[in-house]
């Protein structure tokens, strides 16, 4: 187009090739002292309204997602007393107690929160202590079958319902894939080894440490 001879000839013939020089300040002032296009204001208002709406939606979405995240963060690991008691009740169907022993009532402060799974863990420790005490009594009365049963129950408990936290884990450590059964978590401080040694001594006819454990951990 720029090299087209017809256009070039026309360009050369342009009688005023440069923009006119105009003193415009006064004209600008005179024009703009009139009322501006009223539709502009409507458009600005509409745009502003749309912007306010968009920002409001954004803030609401942010708040909702934050609330969801916080509730997930708080309530995923910490639960109310109602949940803890429910866990405790469910665990009673999966754990055993020696003959003649019943599950004590679990008292939880109504304004407190507990780690998820704590109700099941409490039931595990109740069951463990009850069988230890039962074992002590079975030894003292010479009940071999009772001793045998207590040892079997406690071995199963140690194998299935007691976990050891990794070294350096925080106090509220939970396994990444919690087992489907009630479980209690022991610290990585040799406590479980001490328990196993206690059971081994009791099985060998030395119930002294087991009796101490029974007394020390009996529910109050």
């Amino acid at each position: 187009m720029k090299t087209d001879p017809t256009i070039l000839r026309l360009r050369k013939a342009n009688p005023h090739p440069l923009p006119a020089t105009v003193d415009a300040a006064d004209l600008f002032a005179r024009i703009t002292e009139r009322r501006p296009d009223s539709r502009l204001r409507r458009r600005v208002t509409r745009r502003r309204r749309a912007l306010v709406l968009a920002v409001s939606f954004g803030v609401m979405a942010l708040l909702a997602s934050t609330a969801y995240a916080i509730s997930n963060w708080v309530f995923n690991s910490a639960v109310r007393p109602k949940v803890t008691k429910q866990e405790y009740r469910l665990a009673q169907h999966e754990l055993t107690l020696p003959p003649g022993v019943s599950w004590p009532t679990l008292n939880v402060d109504p304004n407190s929160v507990t780690s998820r799974g704590a109700g099941g863990g409490h039931a595990v420790l109740i069951s463990q202590n009850a069988w230890e005490c039962y074992w002590v009594k079975a030894i003292s009365r010479g009940d071999t079958a009772g001793q045998q049963r207590a040892q079997t129950e406690l071995d199963a408990l140690l194998a299935n319902n007691i976990l050891v936290a990794p070294a350096g884990a925080p106090e509220d450590w939970r396994p990444p894939n919690p087992p489907q059964v009630p479980y209690a978590v022991f610290a990585h401080d040799g406590g479980l080894e001490w328990v196993r040694k206690t059971y081994a001594l009791a099985a060998a006819g030395h119930p002294h440490r087991l009796a101490q454990t029974c007394r020390a951990n009996a529910p109050r």
């Binding site: 187009m1 087209d4 001879p5 017809t6 256009i7 000839r9 026309l10 360009r11 013939a13 342009n14 009688p15 005023h16 090739p17 440069l18 923009p19 006119a20 020089t21 105009v22 415009a24 004209l27 600008f28 024009i31 703009t32 009139r34 501006p36 296009d37 539709r39 502009l40 204001r41 458009r43 600005v44």
Partner: protein
Amino acid sequence: MALEIDRRSAEERFRTVFAHLGTITAYARRRGSKDADALAAEVMTVAWRRLADVPPGDPLPWLYGTARNLVLAERRLSAPAARTSMREPERVASAPEPHELDPDLTRALRSLSEIDREALLLVAWEDLAPSQAAKALGINPAAFRVRLLRARRRLRASLDLPADGRPPAALSQLDVEGT
């Protein structure tokens, strides 16, 4: 307060439009306006009054379109006798016409329809891109390109006309294509 802000933002926007005052004044002069300064000032006044219609990104085509309408109106007002007597075709009387050209070019341009002539001049003199010129004339860009091509051919053919004005074969052939 809100009104004040609206006026200020309108003035800011208008300032970018108003920056083309010199360009529009020159356009009015090229089209032979009797008072190019007043016509350009009128274009700017209309732009302020209808600022919502002026495209903020590229106001030039809108300004040229408005200026062209005002030049046409000026011509209609100044030549009522010629129009009512029907001695001249209306398109010649009402079109913005080029002034101060060499006689051959003037004759060749006058032989074109008003809109073809304007299409050529918007590109050649106003240096508008075809898409901008199409907007100024209120037609779609594809139709504009066809019109421009045809106008160039016709102008070239007219400029080759002998002094006695006998039309060459090529021109009559172009006329058969229709305007």
